[in-house]
Every structure is written in structure tokens, then in C-alpha cells.
């Protein structure tokens, strides 16, 4: 079980990616070595009437350099404030939090399904898999967005050497349609493979992934989101219903759950 620490780190790099997407890299982050794919951090906004911290998945972490990267879309008040952070600004990080993705077996085909801002933890997951010797060609990285500019950080995916399957609603980049439709086609065309699904993205997409997993009897994991007042499991605010019965906390019992485990 990971023990969260609160660290005053600072912004090392601020990159504007496509559209409204940003990448922030924090330095002096001593807990970087503990950040595994799936983990998230909880960021304090500057003295502000916004009260909650904001949760951000680890997009990459460098244990040696003590660096940690997040990638986010400036959509609401909190993420717009995050986008304002500048190089050398101090930032208060609580983390790492939550559980992480479990590794696939050697022979399994990894089917990654990223939707929108669900991309960062999966990018980190794929990176670490490849780094650990898992064959890049055994990884299929589906990445869905509304339009071309929502498929961010492409050079990194290309460099990884994984099979890249971009999908956009409007067909402006990659296949046209919903990412889960493309995934289903892939599953149908490759039903001889032993596949494992890893998904993160908007709730409807996660629900579709959950359905896919159950329909095709494929194991896998979903990384969930929920409004998170505390992020450490004490407020009971971020709950999701189990298929069995009762609620679990996304922040502490998740954010990664098995396919079929929760009611979406």
C-alpha cells in the first residue's frame, strides 16, 4: 500500500500541447520513484476560492531526476489555474495516490484504450511496459478524441513503437468513429489473441469498454474518475458502486478497477 506524502515541488517545464492541452513537469519531486502507472497526484491550487485539490494522473515520472509530468486539458476553473503555472512556480503535491495498473502476462496482447484526458496514465503505462522489455508490437494503443487536435503528444507514442490506432469522431485524424467501435473491430478481427484491455477516459467510453470486456470475456482494467475532495480515502466523497454490492472509493480502492467490478 502506497503512503502518500505532501511535497512542495516546483514547475520545471510548462508546455502547451495541441488545443487546450498542457504538459507540466515538476522538479524536486522526491516521491517520483514511487509513482507507478495508474497512480495520481493531488495538486493544490494557489490561494484561491476554489477549495479542493485537483487530481491528475501521473503521465511520466523520472525517479533519478526526481521529475513528474502531468498532461491535462484546461476545461474548468481548476485546470485553467493549473495552465497558468509558470516555470519555477512552487506547487504543493500530495501523492502518489491510489492503486496502479497490473502488468499483463508475457504472452498477452495489450489493448490500450485512451479517450481524451484519459491518455496520460495509459501513456505512462505503455512507456513503462516497453521499458521493462514488453514487446512494443504486442501493444495496441487506441486513442480517441473528438478531433485531430485532441490526439496530443503523438511523438511520444510514435517513439514507443507501439501499434498506434488514433480514432476521431470527425475522422480528421486516424479512423473515424468512436474509439470503442474501433477496438471492437480489432477484437473481432483478432479473436485468436489473448488480449487484455486497459482503459481510461470519459465515463461512457469506460462503460463501453466494460461491456466489451464482458461481451468478449476479456480481462482488463479501467481507470476511473470522480470528484475527489480528499484523494486519500477519508471523505467518502468519490465513491462508485460495485457490481456486487456497496460502494468503494475511487481514490483509495481505485482509481484502477477490474473490468466487471464496478457499476458504470
Amino acid at each position: 500500500m502506497i503512503k502518500p506524502v505532501r511535497i512542495l515541488s516546483k514547475v520545471l517545464r510548462h508546455r502547451k500541447l495541441e488545443d487546450n492541452y498542457y504538459s507540466l513537469t515538476f522538479g524536486d519531486y522526491k516521491a517520483a520513484s514511487k509513482c507507478k502507472p495508474g497512480h495520481f497526484i493531488h495538486l493544490k491550487l494557489p490561494e484561491s476560492n476554489l477549495y479542493f485539490r485537483r487530481a491528475m494522473s501521473v503521465a511520466s515520472a523520472d525517479a533519478e531526476k526526481q521529475e513528474l509530468e502531468i498532461i491535462f486539458k484546461a476545461i474548468g476553473r481548476g485546470t485553467k489555474q493549473l495552465a497558468q503555472f509558470k516555470k519555477n512556480d512552487p506547487i504543493d503535491i500530495l501523492g502518489p495516490l491510489g492503486n496502479c495498473f497490473t502488468k499483463p502476462a508475457k504472452k498477452e496482447t495489450v489493448v490500450i484504450i485512451a479517450g481524451g484526458v484519459g491518455y496520460p496514465p495509459l501513456a505512462y503505462f505503455a512507456t513503462e511496459l516497453v521499458k521493462s522489455g514488453f514487446p512494443a508490437k504486442q501493444i495496441h494503443f487506441f486513442y480517441g478524441g473528438r478531433t485531430s487536435s485532441e490526439i496530443v503528444d503523438r511523438p511520444r507514442i510514435k517513439k514507443l513503437g507501439v501499434n498506434f490506432h488514433p480514432v476521431t469522431d470527425d475522422g480528421s485524424f486516424g479512423e473515424k468513429g468512436l474509439v470503442t467501435q474501433s477496438v471492437e473491430k480489432f477484437i473481432q478481427a483478432n479473436d485468436d489473441l489473448k488480449s487484455k484491455l486497459y482503459a481510461c477516459g470519459p465515463e461512457p467510453m469506460l462503460k463501453a469498454c466494460d461491456d466489451l470486456g464482458m461481451k468478449y470475456k476479456l480481462p482488463g482494467q479501467l481507470s476511473l474518475e470522480a470528484p475527489m475532495p480528499c484523494g486519500i480515502g477519508v471523505c467518502l466523497g468519490c465513491i462508485v458502486k460495485l457490481r456486487d454490492d456497496g460502494y468503494v472509493r475511487v481514490c483509495k480502492d481505485g482509481p484502477v478497477f477490474e473490468i466487471g467490478e464496478v457499476l458504470l
Binding site: M1, F52, I232, L236, G237
Partner: protein, 305 residues
């Protein structure tokens, strides 16, 4: 000279006046991963009810300006699982343990207190007399002085652990319920619980909480809490535990000055789970600088105009 932070309430000695607030520190396990609970004056548990409760469906929290709304709905493991699963962990802690309980009827409160009376690691019991997040009438004892007095009298009859009455701020005059609780035999009062509030999403027109109403907490409510502690301080003789928006050492001092003997930190733990450590450090530094030898020297010492 090291400033003395310890305080005593109903014969129980607390190492310092900083407690966690009910519902904001679970049963202690998660915070114990971040720092040893022994640094706390006391840990106050989530409200325990006779039966386990799932609480309301999500969304059950919402962010507001300098605060938040919650309608968790008293999700908790219930008294039996609390005794079997949580007490063993709490027993191992060297901090003081305050168990917060809530019932739908006087009988339920009494049974909860009787059940806890068997346990030997519980330093105080806190009766949640005013949680706005459950529909059942019983939970608004806090606004009825007669019920308040009766529930305390009956609980004390079956329970030798000193009892704190946690009052609701959603009343016309909190001194009335405060006096009723004192009359009923409460060893101390804690206030405030949350203010009734609401929030709507202007885009979807949907209430931001499934329960619609929720409890407002955080820095936004601090002025209200201070005013209520101040009013109660001159109305009763028993000690007061101040709660409401406390986030830093200056807030703690404000509460001491209006009459609190100790304080509880709630919502601020969500933003800074280690707030108690920082507060303690800065409170000590403040006392050194101001040459205040004992934290109790500040209680009720507000200079009014």
C-alpha cells in the same frame, strides 16, 4: 521554555487541543499512513450508527467558494463491524479516541453508548445531534432542546465514558440547545456541525447532490462557527470544542479566544491532511513569541470592544 499545549476535558488529558473532526478522518487508518496519530490531541471517528450505512448515491460532495457541501449520508460500517474491525486498530493508537455516534431514536443513541461502554480504548463519545444529511427525523435532535436533554440523560445513565454533545448550527439560538445539553449532563459541547446548503449546476439545471441538500463546511463557515462558540461560551460552564473552517494556527487561536478549549479540523484535512502537524508547530512558535506558557491561557480571552 516549551509552551504547554495540553488541555483537559472532563478529566481526559489531551496532549494538545487539535482533534480531527468526525467524518473527515475516517476511522484513522488512512491518516496513520501519513503521520503517527499520536501527534493528534484526539482522533474523532466518522459517525457510527447501529446498522451499517452505504450513504447516499454519488455525487455526494460539491465544491463551493472557500468550502464544500457534503451529503455523504452517514456512510459507516455500523457499530458491530466498528467494534470488530476498527477498534483493534484504534486500540493500538496512543492518541485519544473519541467515537462519534448517531441514531434515529433516543433508544438507538442509548444502545450505541451502552455498546461502546464495553470497549476500553474509548476516551470520549461524541453524540452527533444534528447531521443535515439524513431524512429520518431523529437526526435533528439538535434543534429540539427537550430531546437534546433527554438523549443525554439517558445515554449517561448507561455509559460511564464522558459524553460530548455535538450541536447543529441550524437553529435560531444555539445557546438554548447548548444549555439543554449541559442540563442533560454533557461533559462538553462541540460545535459547529455543517450549515444546511445547496448547489445547482447552472448548465444542466441539476442539483449537485443526489440528496439535494447538503452540509456546508470549510473556511466559508468559520465566522458563523466563531459567533456560535462565542455565544455558547457565556451561556454554559462546560468546555467547548470549536469546529468550523479551521485551517491554520491563526484559526485555532481565534477559536480559543472566543472560548473553545480544543478544536477539531474537518474539511481542511482534505486539502492538507498534515494540517494538524503544521498547526501544532506554528501554534508553539506563536506561543513562544508571545510568551504564552499554556494554551489554556488563551481560552475566552478575546478583547471585545
Amino acid at each position: 521554555m516549551k509552551p504547554v499545549l495540553s488541555v483537559e476535558i472532563a478529566g481526559v488529558k489531551f496532549n494538545n487541543p487539535i482533534m480531527t473532526a468526525s467524518g473527515c478522518s475516517g476511522y484513522g487508518e488512512e491518516l496513520a499512513d501519513i503521520y503517527p496519530l499520536s501527534i493528534l490531541g484526539a482522533l474523532v471517528t466518522k459517525t457510527i450508527t447501529p446498522e451499517p450505512r452505504e450513504g447516499h448515491p454519488p455525487p455526494r460532495t460539491a465544491e463551493t467558494d472557500s468550502g464544500m457541501l457534503n451529503a455523504i449520508g452517514l456512510a459507516n460500517v455500523g457499530i458491530e463491524r466498528f467494534v470488530s474491525e476498527k477498534i483493534p486498530f484504534l486500540k493500538k493508537q496512543t492518541t485519544k479516541i473519541i467515537v462519534n455516534v448517531g441514531g434515529k431514536t433516543i433508544k438507538e443513541y442509548v444502545e450505541l453508548c451502552a455498546r461502546l461502554n464495553d470497549q476500553d480504548c474509548i476516551d470520549m463519545i461524541e453524540l452527533n445531534l444534528g447531521c443535515p444529511n439524513v431524512s429520518e427525523g431523529g437526526m435533528q435532535f439538535g434543534s429540539d432542546p427537550k430531546m437534546t436533554e433527554r438523549v443525554l440523560k439517558e445515554a449517561i445513565a448507561v455509559c460511564s465514558i464522558p459524553i460530548i454533545a455535538k450541536l447543529t448550527p441550524n437553529v435560531t439560538d444555539v445557546r438554548v440547545t447548548a444549555r439543554a445539553a449541559e442540563q442533560g449532563g454533557a461533559s462538553a459541547l462541540s460545535l459547529i456541525n455543517t450549515l444546511v446548503g445547496m448547489s445547482v449546476d447552472h448548465e444542466t439545471w441539476q442539483s449537485r447532490l443526489t440528496f439535494n441538500r447538503g452540509g456546508l463546511s470549510g473556511p466559508a463557515v468559520k465566522p458563523v462557527a466563531l459567533a456560535q462558540v462565542d455565544a455558547v461560551y457565556s451561556a454554559v460552564k462546560i468546555p467547548i470544542i470549536g469546529i468550523g473552517g479551521i485551517s491554520n494556527y491563526a484559526d485555532v487561536i481565534e477559536f480559543l479566544l472566543v472560548g473553545a478549549t480544543a478544536v477539531q479540523i474537518g474539511t481542511a484535512l482534505f486539502v492538507e491532511p498534515d494540517a494538524p502537524i503544521l498547526i501544532m508547530r506554528e501554534l508553539s512558535a506563536y506561543m513562544k513569541r508571545k510568551k504564552i506558557s499554556h494554551v489554556t491561557d488563551m481560552i475566552g480571552k478575546i478583547r471585545k470592544f
